[in-house]
């Protein structure tokens, strides 16, 4: 069975927010209608986004890591948001594992957003329906797009290619390989939601220099430094040994 998902590589994500606004831009003009923004030019503007990047610091100066953490619906294999929906608007697709909301059925009761431990569902305050990442379901199967572009908008946009897309149930997919080889992990597995989306951790590259690597025989100083020669008058071993 297919389970589509995003794998996000925190080792290269620079927190640029391209995935945030390209998602908004694609989806606001999508089949579900506009994603609204309240007070867009006023105090405390707030709008509907399917994907946000949080930035936080880990550790204490100077051993600080600044982490950029993009987060959208994780398309859990056991999504707690689905069973709580009183109208059946929130559902998980059998064929590809995408969790979707049927806006025609949604009554905006917000049960699902309370149930979601990841805080990725956002009510559209204008339409009063619950919205969330659709994995760009309107792109990925769209035969009118060239095949290379049948990918989520955020994946296409991401300048660092930190966002991989594919079937986590197919062991040969790029996402499964990345999870396997780069230590991919799900978010808060203790909740038992089995998120389909995974994250790849930071990795460090170091350089070890051995003391004796610093100076080599072909050191240019040997050429450039006119090493002082001892005075001819100085005594030498040569003068005093006779055997």
């Amino acid at each position: 069975m297919t389970q589509l998902a995003l794998v996000i590589d925190l080792n290269v994500c620079v927190g640029c927010h391209a995935c945030v606004t390209s998602c908004k831009e694609w989806n606001t003009s999508g089949p579900a209608g506009a994603m609204s923004d309240e007070r867009p030019y006023d105090v405390n503007p707030t709008g509907n986004f399917f994907n946000r990047v949080q930035t936080f610091e880990v550790g204490e100066f100077p051993n600080t890591e600044t982490v950029h953490f993009p987060k959208s619906c994780l398309h859990c294999e056991d999504p707690p948001c689905v069973p709580v929906c009183p109208t059946g608007a929130s559902y998980k697709r059998k064929e590809d594992g995408i969790v979707l909301v049927d806006y025609d059925k949604c009554i905006g009761c917000k049960y699902c957003s309370w149930a979601c431990p990841y805080g990725v569902r956002e009510i559209d305050e204008k339409q009063k329906v619950m919205k969330k990442c659709t994995l760009c379901v309107d792109r990925i199967y769209d035969q009118s797009l060239p095949e290379a572009e049948r990918k989520p908008a955020c994946v296409m946009a991401c300048p660092t290619s930190a966002r991989l897309f594919g079937d986590v149930h197919d062991p040969e997919s790029v996402v499964s390989k990345a999870i396997r080889e780069s230590g991919g992990y799900p978010l808060m597995p203790e909740w038992g939601t089995q998120p389909a989306n995974h994250y790849l951790p930071r990795r460090k590259t170091r350089l070890r220099i051995h003391e004796d690597e610093l100076e080599r025989t072909d050191n240019p100083l040997k050429i450039d430094r006119q090493l002082p020669k001892p005075d001819m008058a100085e005594p030498s071993l040569d003068d005093v040994t006779s055997w």
């Binding site: 391209a18 105090v43 100066f61 806006y103 309107d138 660092t160 690597e213 006119q226």
Partner: protein, 962 residues
């Protein structure tokens, strides 16, 4: 995969048009998807070399720029009797705009053209704006480089003949070690993101040296926090270590730099500190004649450099047969860095000694032991054939963190020298040039050298901006006083190659060096974030003389958006957005070249202009014709170019030169490139080719271009450079020494006025040295212990994006980041309101604790704070109530010596605005105080013609909202 589809929709995309992004200066290729004529989606053009299909947060939010309610849609003039700054305007017609300007500017031009000043922001059309100014005859023209990063351009171009960003960059494809120093998350945007990610995936090691760990630094393998303004000390200590350990690329230094050249050390001599030359007379030109000497190790006597079979000493001292004492310049460099030990630098930078040493060793050992050999044959300038191109895979990138200090020029010289010692210039895995660079040191363009170049009804006799190579190139009066309003190219800032836009308003207001009549500003927010000392500058803009006349009589602002600046205009010209205009990212300006060859690009409108907007280019061409500026006028006196596209196609730098704004598809049928007759179908050809022209050089011309015979001849044939002489790296700068000699009274060149002698002598040191930033030297560091800087976030560019409904949700206001310990010592909790105070002013803002900033530094995001009501935000918007502008704390001038005039708060070599030098203290705001940013300004109101700002937004591109 299953063919199941989501909810039914009509096919989403109806039309795709390609053009070039302008949400920042990176200039990615974009595809604009239109539905029913409205923008539905903007994505990256996969066939574009720069961004290869990706796009950033800004580029993805172009829709919100296009339809922003802050757009200016009508030409406006200040209402009679209204104060400047109040934003009280009335609509006028374009005809009235043109008539007003033609009359006013015509009079200025007929009498004293320098009374017209044109200054522009990050406009990407300096080739045209510069041409207009020159044709008008005014010397008073520049773009924003003096504020931005001129130190980076000048420091590197005067050393290696090229610079970072548009002109060159790190070759991360091949690098093994990447050191980023003083770079926030811009400069470059997408190309650098693409490259860093690939580099990391390929196992490269990435070190970031920065007071702050954000953006790109976040994913560095190692973060080395450093105190602002001390990078020069670090770089010099690294140079010290590399030389001490012999970790320099000797072969590279010998052949490709002036390391082995002998310097005259006879201090009685007029040529003291200059390279000794052979007697061969050389034609005067802007290249290094190959007539200097080495001391040959083999024959142990002086020989002409690059003599067959010779090999110079790099260290030592010698005496010429005429008794002149000489030393190779490398010896002088070694002497210079003798005391710049890691121990010394550790005290200054705050970086531990062992880390400084390790940085040096990592660089040196990687460069030496991981050398790359590419099987590319090439011939050097001295005719020697090489079978391979060698690379030492250590790459650097640096930007404003180094540049925006008053010691930035020498810091950047130190960086360029470090890169050269490692042997990384225009080599794989190191730094690589982008056309039109490398150029001679310095490049050939010169300003005029006397006020006689400014004459009524006559174009300026020379360029408004150029590259001085000695004191005789300065643009000054007989008595040494400046000709330009910003005092660029004067003894105060001799190498101010980008001008000093940041001093224009102050100087014009004070009438020092003179009064002007009309100040025209194109897309620069000089009443806010593109100015220092903002509170006072705003007063100057509205200040009047004893007759009640404005001290700056007439201010014209062209911009697409209502801003703090437009409020001060007498005349507002509504510009188009990037989606509504033609543009040329020209080889004559700052093209988007790649390492492998020249690339230029265009914009082609995808939407009609909104309201009555007109592109500024059209305004210039119309004005040019009305003022009868020669270039814009046909021989019968009629208008020469129909419009901007027509100008781009048909303009040639000289009649028949075959060089125009665009390098691609020249010649009648588009069969030529770089040079060729105008091609009437050039725009169509760009349109068919992703809006770019990319000329990929043969592999043998892609490296070692400073000394690559084939490349240099190609470049000369195509008129990119005038000469094909090798461009030796200036470890030791004779250009600087010439100014120093003049200050010492030596030689026959012009001499600085008395009060500037010491300044010139000190700062025109032929070798880099470290000094505390000038403002720091004038600051009581116990009273103002902290350095305050800004960084630019990735999701915003300059002040351009607060009117963007999506981007402002990412950065709605800015706080001051303070190291947690530093804050606690002051009793400042996370989120507290505090005062930040410098010697020059104070600002109230919110503090935010951070572990990702060095304890002696506080910082904030650049240009998010706005004046109330500007950019058509409500006066209550967070940008003005919680957001703040650090510029209020930064002075535009520093006290000069007693009795002398004040000098710009700038680098004394280049005039780069030193806006990262400011020192501050912080303390908690009183509990009774308003929880609001201070200072506040009277709220601006929307100007006529602007759209109403909606209280809700539900953008749906084309068609109906469901």
């Amino acid at each position: 995969m299953s063919a199941a589809v989501a909810p039914e929709v009509a096919p989403a995309v109806q039309e795709i048009k390609k053009t070039t992004c302008y949400m920042c200066a990176c200039r990615c290729g974009i595809r604009v998807h239109l539905r029913d004529g409205q923008v539905r989606y903007i994505d990256g053009n996969p066939d574009h070399p720069l961004n290869q299909g990706v796009i950033c947060a800004k580029g993805s939010s172009g829709i919100m720029k296009q339809y922003s309610p802050a757009r200016l849609l009508k030409p406006l003039k200040r209402k009679a009797g209204a104060e400047r700054g109040a934003g009280d305007f009335e609509e006028i017609s374009w005809e009235e705009v043109y008539a007003t300007l033609a009359e006013r500017l015509g009079k200025i031009r007929a009498t004293d053209p320098k009374k017209f000043a044109l200054f522009t922001g990050r406009d990407q059309m300096q080739a045209l704006t510069g041409l207009f100014a020159r044709q008008f005859g005014t010397p008073n023209y520049a773009a924003h480089g003096g504020l931005c990063s001129v130190n980076m351009a000048a420091g590197m171009i005067y050393t290696i003949g090229g610079s970072f960003w548009e002109f060159g960059g790190p070759d991360l494809d091949r690098a093994k070690l990447f050191v980023m120093i003083g770079t926030a998350e811009d400069h470059h945007s997408n190309p650098l993101k693409i490259a860093i990610a690939k580099f990391k995936r390929n196992g490269g090691r990435f070190i970031s040296i920065n007071p702050v760990r954000t953006g790109y630094s976040a994913i560095a393998d190692e973060w080395v926090p450093i105190r602002p303004g001390t990078d020069g000390a670090l770089l010099l200590a690294i140079i010290h270590e590399l030389i001490a350990k012999g970790l320099y690329d000797r072969d590279f230094l010998v052949r490709y730099t002036n390391a082995g050249q002998l310097v005259n050390l006879d201090d009685k001599h007029d040529e003291f500190g200059m390279f000794v030359r052979t007697e061969v007379p050389q034609e005067e030109a802007c290249y290094d004649p190959q007539n200097k000497l080495w001391w040959d190790r083999i024959s142990n006597k002086p020989v002409i450099t690059h003599s067959e079979g010779a090999d110079p000493f790099l260290l030592g001292e010698f005496v010429l047969s005429d008794g002149t004492p000489v030393k190779p310049s490398f010896q002088l460099l070694q002497e210079r860095v003798q005391d710049y030990t890691p121990e010394w630098a550790a005290q200054i930078t705050g970086i531990p000694v062992d880390v400084i040493r390790r940085l040096a060793y990592e660089m040196g050992v990687t460069a030496r032991d991981q050398q790359i050999e590419l099987p590319i044959a090439w011939t050097d300038s001295w005719g020697k054939e090489h079978d391979t191109v060698t690379g030492n895979p250590v790459a650097f990138h640096a930007m404003r963190g180094l540049a925006a200090h008053s010691n930035g020029f020498h810091t950047i010289r130190a960086l360029a020298i470090l890169m050269s010692l490692l042997g990384t210039i225009d080599r794989p895995g190191g730094f690589r040039h982008k056309a039109p660079f490398p150029r001679p040191i310095p490049p050939c363009a010169r300003t005029p050298t006397s006020p006689l170049a400014v004459r009524p009804d006559t174009p300026l006799d020379g360029m408004a901006l150029g590259w001085p190579s000695d004191p005789d190139d300065l643009f000054i009066h007989e008595d040494g006083t400046p000709v330009r309003i910003d005092k660029a190219f004067s003894w105060e800032y001799p190498l101010s190659v980008h001008g000093l836009m940041h001093n224009v308003i102050t100087n014009a207001w004070r009438g020092d060096p003179y009064r002007i009549d009309t100040l025209m500003i194109f897309m620069s927010n000089m009443a806010w974030n593109s100015t220092m000392n903002t509170v006072e500058v705003r007063k100057m803009l509205n200040d009047k003389d004893e007759h009640g006349e404005h001290k700056i009589p007439f201010i014209v602002v062209c911009d697409a958006f209502q801003s703090e600046m437009t409020a001060f205009a007498d005349l507002i010209l509504p510009d188009t957005t990037y989606l509504e205009r033609h543009d040329a990212m020209s080889m004559l300006d700052r093209p988007i070249s790649e390492f492998d060859g020249p690339v230029d690009a265009v914009r082609i409108p995808v939407l009609p202009p909104s309201g009555e907007c007109r592109p500024f280019q059209e305004v210039l061409i119309e004005l040019g014709a009305r003022l009868k500026l020669p270039v814009f006028t046909a021989s019968d006196g009629s208008r020469k170019y129909r419009d901007y596209p027509d100008f781009i196609v048909n303009y040639e730098t000289e009649p028949g030169s075959g060089i125009g704004f665009l390098a691609g598809w020249r010649g009648r049928g588009g069969e030529k490139f770089m040079r060729g007759e105008p091609n009437p179908n050039q725009w169509e050809m760009y349109a068919k080719n992703n809006c770019i022209y990319h000329h990929e050089l043969p592999r043998s011309y892609q490296y070692m271009r400073n000394w690559n015979q084939g490349y240099l001849e190609w470049s000369q044939r195509n008129r990119i450079t005038r000469y094909a002489e090798p461009i030796l790296i200036h470890l030791y700068s004779e250009v600087l020494q010439k100014f120093r000699l003049a200050a010492q009274g030596k030689g026959i060149s012009r001499k600085p006025p008395e009060h500037l002698k010491q300044r010139v002598e000190t700062f025109f040191d032929p070798l880099p040295f470290f000094y505390e930033p000038l403002e720091t030297q004038l600051t009581d560091k116990h009273k103002y212990p902290l350095a305050a800087i800004t960084q630019r976030p990735m999701a915003m560019y300059h002040s351009w994006d607060s009117q963007n409904a999506w981007l402002r949700q990412i950065h709605t206001y800015n706080t001051l980041y303070v190291n947690t310990q530093t804050a606690r010592l002051q009793g400042i909790a996370d989120g507290d309101w505090i005062w930040v105070e410098s010697q020059w002013g104070k600002v109230r803002c919110m503090a935010q604790h951070s572990e990702a900033v060095e304890p002696g530094t506080v910082w904030t995001w650049n240009a998010i704070g706005k004046a109330a009501g500007a950019w058509n935000l409500t006066p209550e918007a967070n940008e003005s109530r919680q957001g703040f502008l650090l510029n209020h704390l930064i002075s535009d001038e520093l006290p000069g010596k007693p009795g002398a005039s004040r000098v710009s708060n700038s680098d004394p070599v280049t005039g780069q605005a030193a806006w990262y030098d400011v020192r501050v203290r912080i303390y908690k705001a009183g509990a009774e105080e308003a929880q609001e940013t201070s200072p506040q300004f009277e709220a601006l109101t929307p100007v006529p013609g602007m759209k109403q700002r909606p209280t809700w937004l539900a953008y749906f591109g084309g068609g109906k909202i469901k």
